[in-house]
């Protein structure tokens, strides 16, 4: 179940995106060292103009291309999403989802090919089971299931991608900031 020898996409991402908050950049540049997540402080600073942060794991064959299409066809969607390209939605380990929430993301979106259209034949079917169990189990733990989202977006569905991101962002705004792992002051 545990995968070895791979560099975490979450950590890799933190060097890619200019808008990544300071605490994540710090994590990325000092792998292995002790980091302190002072989410509460970050929130205070951001309270006035709080915007949810959504992490998207997009499958390289469908959803990532769909997001590309949304861009090239000038579809507007909220800039709240940070995207990590994965080879397949089946690559998304429940650990990635939880780690993202642990780092302070307000929501996670896993997006892949429609059933029957997976480039590797069955990856999205496996992802479907994993996300289902993760979502239900985290709900039982006390995490709002709305924070874990999934969608099927094909390479030709740029419009759908824009809609999904808009809907999810709207819902996350309603639930509010992710304070799950924050230490009480």
């Amino acid at each position: 179940m545990t995968r070895r020898g791979t560099v975490s996409p979450i950590i890799r991402m933190s060097t890619n995106i200019a808008t990544t908050p300071a605490y994540m950049v710090e994590l990325g540049s000092s792998i292995g060292s002790i980091y302190i997540l002072d989410l509460a402080e970050v929130r205070v600073k951001q309270e006035s103009e709080w915007e949810p942060k959504l992490l998207g794991f997009l499958c390289k064959w469908c959803s990532y291309a769909g997001a590309d299409l949304a861009g090239t066809s000038r579809k507007k969607y909220p800039a709240n999403i940070r995207i990590i390209k994965v080879p397949c939605s089946g690559r998304v380990d429940p650990l990635f989802i939880l780690k993202a929430l642990r780092l302070g993301f307000d929501g996670v979106l896993v997006s892949g090919c429609h059933p029957g259209e997976c480039h590797y034949q069955t990856g999205n079917y496996r992802a479907r089971r994993r996300i289902a169990i993760t979502k239900k189990f985290l709900e039982y733990m006390g995490i709002d299931p709305q924070r874990i989202q999934a969608s099927w977006v094909s390479a030709s569905e740029g419009g759908k991608f824009a809609e999904v991101v808009a809907e999810v962002t709207k819902e996350l705004k309603e639930i509010g900031a992710n304070q799950l792992f924050a230490d009480e002051k």
Partner: protein, 321 residues
């Protein structure tokens, strides 16, 4: 068959296996150093075989040793243990032909902490505990105290569906009757389900504040067979080894997802936890979720693929946009 007779038969069989070279090792239970306890016995020596016992205190799930021992093994297995063995076979961790399973129809195990709670006495002060059908008789201060079995059995035994081993080569005794109290065994989960999600999160936060990250739950779990656990990885370092509640909680959530569809609700993690975190409220819930979502029960069919590596075209996807 009485425990005494079962013991005799077990010793006889185990000795024969060792003498005939059918197995390299025998794994069973011997009396522990404390009253009313047993400890695992792993031996190659047939002189040790006479120490093997069968009683209502053999709590350990011995299948956890199968992945570590090289060679052919004869193993004593209760209902839940046998399911863990099947689960290991499904995951290609154990070869069926390499093991001989001595199945024990298990009438449920006695939880000493429940006994202590009922009597208000320490386990050392008790003289004798005997199980007789659905009654448990405890001798204390020369007096006889009578309990219904449902009052003193482990919670996971109360929700046991398969007391008789699902896979065995030799079965000791007849199929055992079930003493179950499904409602009582689910009490804690029901209470949690009744809470709001904030209350639940606060509850688990409080529980995992105590966690020492001793990883006893991982060591004792037959389903936790990864050569390297994600917790021990340093590049990437998924979580810190420092026992802070955030990381403790994350460790346990992911551990539960990893053993989903493998966990047979043997209750070992909860029993072993040195700070009494109610881990079975997680594993049992996961067990139920796997049943509800995928109509699957762990450790029932050794030819079935593990549930999270398999899929059905018809799996529910109402949560996907």
């Amino acid at each position: 068959m009485k425990n005494r007779e079962m013991e005799q038969r077990l010793r006889h069989e185990a000795k024969t296996w060792l003498e005939e070279g059918k197995v390299d090792y025998v794994i069973g239970f011997e009396p522990g150093s404390l009253k009313f306890t047993t400890t695992p016995l792993i031996t190659k020596d047939k002189d040790d075989i006479d120490r093997l016992v069968i009683n209502p205190f053999m709590v350990n799930n011995l299948s956890v040793y199968l992945t570590e021992i090289k060679g052919r093994v004869g193993i004593v297995a209760k209902g839940c243990d046998s399911r863990s063995i099947i689960s290991l076979i499904q995951d290609n961790q154990v070869v069926r032909e390499d093991i001989i399973i001595m199945g024990i129809p298990c009438p449920g195990l006695i939880d000493l902490s429940k006994v202590e709670l009922w009597l208000g006495r320490d386990r050392d002060e008790l003289d004798d505990i005997t199980r007789d059908g659905d009654r448990v008789v405890i001798m204390v201060d020369g007096k006889e105290r009578n309990f219904s079995a449902t009052e003193v059995l482990f919670d996971n035994c109360l929700s046991c569906e398969f007391p008789t081993p699902q896979e065995y080569d030799v079965l000791l005794g007849e199929t055992s009757s079930l003493v179950a109290d499904k409602i009582a065994s689910r009490d804690k989960i029901k209470k949690l389900e009744g809470m709001t999600s904030e209350q639940r999160w606060e509850f688990w936060k409080g529980e995992f504040n105590r966690c020492l990250r001793c990883y006893a739950c991982r060591s004792v779990c037959p389903s936790c067979f990864c050569k390297q656990c994600f917790v021990d990885e340093s590049q990437p370092q998924w979580l810190l080894p420092v026992p802070r509640w955030q990381d403790n909680l994350m460790f346990q959530i992911i551990r539960n997802i990893h053993v989903a569809g493998r966990c047979t609700d043997c209750g070992e993690c909860e029993r072993i936890c040195p700070v009494n975190i109610p881990l079975r409220s997680l594993t049992k819930k996961m067990y139920e979720l796997v049943g509800d979502l995928f109509h699957y029960q762990a450790g029932m069919d050794k030819s079935a693929p593990p549930v999270l590596t398999a899929y059905e075209y018809t799996d529910a996807e109402d949560f996907i946009r």
